[in-house]
């Protein structure tokens, strides 16, 4: 092995050590403007994926933008919001530029409540909005009165309630919850039913102690309890908190973020800092809800691929054979093949998160752009599928492959930074 290859290997060892050494704790829920200073300026909208302007936004992204603009009081109605967006009244920036992530359209604005995950090993924090549940929701581009009323309840009731409970508890450590969830059939992207239950089991007594109105307490418990994907947004904030410490490791070829905005797919790599490498995002392959088909689908969206970045989701499919059927990716017995395949392009197995069906092997962690380019094996991402028109919502679930072009661009940029041509 050449000296350069050995140096990249050594850097990757350090990047993966940082990815896996973190101690993520869910500590609070706060208004976004309290923790992301940029949002206190006028009409800033953070979105999922790499940078994107209004002109290139897909239907559901535009639907979510107009919905959140009305919600924040920046427009009188959806049509007014669309006019203002086209006129440049709103500034659009990626969540990832502000320590945050968001599912699907990933809207983050000043008054929304954000889950706060603190990585106590490295002292950094990361943020994600609260999961709205299923059906017509903002993250899939929904923007009618029902959607906005739910957002208001999250802002005024649920967010403050969870925040109060977490503060009295001193936070909830997340690594043990994920470890148990992997033994209970979750992969933390398209299946979070076990982890949502485990989280609620810890949260419920503190909610009861800090909530004085029994009716409100019942509403809060019922909302969390009936949402199988409640933990997804917690896992996303956790993924961001775990991966950020690896964001700047010179010479490392380990991926520190993967995300998509419905138009482009983007990745960041430890050895190239905060530079984005983008390519057109692909269409998910999956199953559709009754009445919908591939013709209705939007290309892939969301910052949720941060869970694959840390070895969960499609990388942990072997833990969740039920998901293979749900996303139409083959037989339950194929689940292990997905995880083994991801082992071909990753640097390490995480000893803290193991999969019983693989004889307790750790989840494959630390995507190495060299291995992706060498093998042609693209990271597998489990995902929801949004309708391509604004305001409709989720129409299915499936898997999507990260475009190889992102990794090829990243490899070339890393080589240039190291001085190799």
């Amino acid at each position: 092995m050449g000296d350069l290859a050995a140096a990249v290997d050594k850097a990757n060892e350090e990047a993966c050590r940082r990815l896996m050494a973190g101690d993520p704790v869910l500590v609070d829920v706060v208004p976004a403007g309290d923790v992301i200073p940029r949002l206190r300026e006028e009409r800033i909208i953070l979105h999922a994926g790499p940078p994107l302007g209004w002109d290139h936004m897909c239907g559901p992204m535009r639907g979510a933008v107009t919905g959140i603009a009305v919600f924040e009081g920046w427009a009188s109605d959806l049509a007014d919001a669309e006019r203002r967006a086209a006129a440049g009244d709103f500034a659009f920036e990626p969540n990832h530029h502000h320590g945050a992530v968001g599912p699907m359209t990933g809207m983050t604005t000043v008054s929304q409540p954000l889950l706060v995950v603190e990585n106590r090993t490295f002292g950094n924090r990361a943020y994600c909005a609260i999961n709205e549940g299923l059906g017509k929701v903002l993250r899939f581009g929904g923007n009618d009165a029902e959607v906005l009323a739910r957002l208001a309840w999250l802002r005024d009731v649920l967010g403050p309630a969870i925040g109060r409970a977490l503060r009295t508890m001193g936070g909830i450590p997340l690594k043990p919850i994920v470890a148990r969830g992997l033994t209970m059939g979750d992969e933390m992207h398209q299946r979070n039913v076990a982890c949502s239950g485990l989280l609620l089991r810890q949260l419920a007594p503190a909610l009861a102690r800090t909530q004085t109105d029994p009716s409100t307490l019942a509403d809060v418990l019922a909302f969390i309890g009936r949402n199988d994907q409640f933990f997804l947004n917690v896992a996303m904030a956790m993924g961001k908190a775990l991966s950020d410490p690896a964001r700047d490791v010179a010479m490392s070829s380990i991926v520190t973020a993967m995300c998509r905005n419905g138009t482009d797919f983007g990745i960041r790599v430890a050895g190239t800092g905060d530079q984005w490498f983008t390519a057109p995002v692909e269409m998910p392959q999956g199953l559709y809800f009754p009445g919908f088909s591939e013709a209705d689908a939007n290309p892939d969206m969301g910052d949720s691929a941060i869970v694959e970045t840390i070895g969960l989701g499609g990388f942990a499919m072997a833990a969740a054979p039920a998901v293979v059927g749900f996303v139409g990716a083959g037989r339950a017995s194929d689940a292990a093949l997905y995880t083994r395949s991801m082992g071909e392009i990753t640097w390490a197995l995480n000893p803290d998160w193991t999969i019983p069906a693989l004889d307790h092997a750790g989840v494959p962690t630390g995507i190495d752009v060299r291995r992706v380019v060498a093998t042609g094996i693209a990271p597998t991402i489990n995902t929801g599928i949004a309708h391509r028109m604004p305001g409709v919502g989720q129409v299915g679930a499936g898997i999507v492959k990260a475009p190889l072009a992102c990794f090829e661009l990243a490899l070339s940029a890393l080589a240039a930074r190291i001085g190799v041509s």
Binding site: M1, G2, L4, A5, A6, V8, D9, S253, D368, R370, R371, V373, A374, T375, G376, L404, E408, L411, S412, L414, A415, I418, V420
Partner: protein
């Protein structure tokens, strides 16, 4: 007369590992051969410049 080593290959039922185009494996399987297809593509999808970078940076 067929040499013994060639006969060992051709006179017994074929067991094939196919590396490369999947259609080769499919044709063999359609003709009754026992075949295992190995998913393989040229490094960097055959891009010579990227392959050179991989040689320098390792993979």
């Amino acid at each position: 007369m067929t040499p013994p080593k060639v006969c060992a290959l051709l006179c017994a039922p074929l067991k094939v590992i196919n590396v490369g185009l999947e259609t080769f494996a499919a044709d063999l399987a359609a003709n009754g051969a026992q075949v295992q297809d190995v998913q393989w593509v040229p490094p960097a999808r055959g891009d010579a410049a990227l392959a050179r970078l991989l040689l320098r940076l390792g993979a």
